[in-house]
């Protein structure tokens, strides 16, 4: 059924008893043209674009738990394309363009809201860096504006402008940035892929790879062996664990990132605001909760929960940036497992094992990349060629030296 105002009216008149399931619950077939491991945002987007852009419909998405139960359901829902380096910016701008057309494309209300993102700066040096970044964005076709202090005082009067140590001097704004209803991204892609014939198989954990003469020809799962000409892996924090089954060691560490939401408040924060003097960012959800976060905990972790020192650190950042936040009560906090790469940038590449493809290393920036990642990974799976905006996301870039280190902190994943 196509979702529209008419379908809502029609179903409303029938007491909402006629809605069909949003996607099927099929049993796995013995073999597929392609399998995608991981039913998160990236895996489901990959499946959708494989089916819609490349005509590959005999494919399956295998998910260990339920779809959208991992990082696509655990992030802070921000979309943006304000990157500096050429290897990144073109990709994230493609992703932002795909966000802009997502709801029409998948016929699902993902509540894409381009309410703008502001990165604050506090010194002349930070202003110079922000101007440089903005120019880099504009060169890649994105939008960027420098706000001065007066603009900001009008837009966000609640900020702590006159802090003695870190006075707020302005910000780099991307008006097309914003936020999205994160769960709806997973559900929208799943439903759209399912309508094109993709099998979405939940509660299906991959336990190993089926190899034949050094080539990957399928996977072993807790629901039996499933063969595939091509296998794509998009499992974020579990990447090292899954790929160890193919004998690969990767330039990835898994770390826990916490996120927080306050009680619901009246409309308060106009868009997304990031602090330039500490790691803190905040936005307000459509339900009114303040959604915020900061640094990763900083040690290897596969636990989807963090520890209290980072909670304190994030809340200190919030108090320093906007003291009014101290009046709001914290409602919920949670953790997700980030596949932190050695230079802070992702991989969308073939692996040394023929037939096995990898999409990983998104660090804590995977949500905004969801459509672009699916688009480029589908392109790689279908054509065996890297997409033109993703040619830098190579798995062997630490050997060749062509790293993409936005932050310039070197091979130290907990500092990216």
């Amino acid at each position: 059924m196509r979702y529209s105002i008419w379908s809502i009216l029609r179903q409303g008149l029938k007491g909402n008893r006629g809605w069909p399931l949003a996607w099927r619950d099929p049993d796995p077939k013995p073999s597929y043209d392609a399998i995608i491991i991981g039913g998160g945002g990236h895996g489901l987007a990959t499946a959708y674009y494989l089916a819609s852009e490349h005509g590959m419909t005999n494919i399956a998405v295998l998910e260990k738990g339920w779809i959208g139960g991992g990082n696509v359901g655990r992030n802070t829902t921000i979309i943006r394309s304000n990157y500096l380096l050429p290897g990144n910016e073109a990709f994230y701008e493609l992703s932002l363009k795909l966000w802009e057309g997502l709801e029409q494309s998948v016929n699902y209300n993902a509540m894409v809201s381009q309410r703008g993102i502001i990165n604050l700066f506090h010194s002349d040096a930070q202003r110079d860096a922000a101007v440089r970044r903005g120019n880099s964005m504009i060169l890649h076709g994105a939008d960027a504006d420098i706000l001065n202090e007066d603009d900001l005082r009008r837009m966000c009067p609640f900020l702590n402008f006159d802090n003695a140590r870190f006075p707020i001097k302005g910000g780099l704004m991307q008006k097309r940035g914003g936020s999205v209803r994160h769960d709806a991204v997973a559900w929208g892609y799943a439903r759209a892929a399912d309508r094109l014939g993709v099998d979405i198989i939940q509660n299906c954990e991959v336990t190993g790879f089926v190899m034949n003469g050094g080539k990957c020809i399928g996977v072993e799962t807790n629901r039996g062996r499933i063969l595939a000409k091509k296998t794509g892996v998009a499992v974020a924090g579990s990447t090292s664990k899954v790929m160890a089954g193919a004998g690969l060691r990767l330039p990835i560490e898994s770390h826990v990132l916490q996120a927080f939401v306050s009680e619901g408040l009246k409309p308060l924060i106009p868009g997304v605001i990031t602090y330039g003097a500490g790691h803190f960012y905040i936005s307000q959800s459509d339900k009114g909760g303040l959604v915020f976060g900061g640094d990763i905990d900083g040690y290897n972790s596969y636990a989807q929960r963090g520890n209290l020192p980072v909670v304190e650190d994030v809340c200190e950042g919030g108090m320093a940036l906007m003291p009014m936040i101290g009046k709001a009560r914290l409602l919920r906090m949670w953790g997700g497992i980030m596949d932190m790469s050695m230079d802070g940038s992702p991989f969308i590449d073939k692996t040394p094992v023929p037939g096995l493809y990898l999409n990983a290393g998104w660090c804590y920036g995977g949500f905004k990349a969801t459509p672009g990642s699916g688009w480029c990974f589908a392109h790689l799976l279908a054509t065996d060629q890297m997409h033109e905006v993703a040619t830098s996301f190579r798995l062997d870039r630490f050997k060749t030296g062509a790293v993409i280190d936005e932050k310039g902190s070197g091979a130290q994943p907990n500092l990216h």
Binding site: S240, R249, P251, S254, N307, F398, N414
Partner: protein, 113 residues
């Protein structure tokens, strides 16, 4: 997390700085002169590749806000339970002459959470 320091007793993890996998103690010889593929590969693997296990992990913590010693902490990365702690200088001694990157030693008993 509370890290039971071998010399100072239980200390809060926020006093420490985290480096990563304890295999970083076993630095291979840097490629000298004309680097051969083999020494380059060994150095690349040392700097950039990680086992990143889902379970027990031996890792390096630096007591930056304390006695500035390096510790090897054996910790379960799913429960955050600390199984054992030793001084990195002690941990490195018995493996001085091995070349294998991820030799596991027996964790010391008696570490408290």
């Amino acid at each position: 997390m509370i890290i039971p320091h071998p010399l100072l007793g239980p200390r809060d993890a926020s006093e420490f700085t985290y480096l990563g996998d304890a295999s970083l103690l076993l630095r291979p010889d840097a490629p000298v002169g004309d680097p051969t593929t083999q020494t380059m590969t060994a150095f690349h693997d040392y700097i950039h590749l990680r086992d990143n296990p889902h379970g027990v992990h031996r890792e390096l913590w630096f007591h930056e806000q304390g006695d500035r010693s390096w510790l090897v902490v054996t910790r379960h990365v799913s429960s955050h339970e600390i199984l054992s702690v030793e001084l990195a200088s002690e941990a490195k001694k018995p493996r001085k002459n091995t070349s294998k990157a991820n030799v596991k030693t027996k964790p010391q008993k008696g570490g408290k959470r």
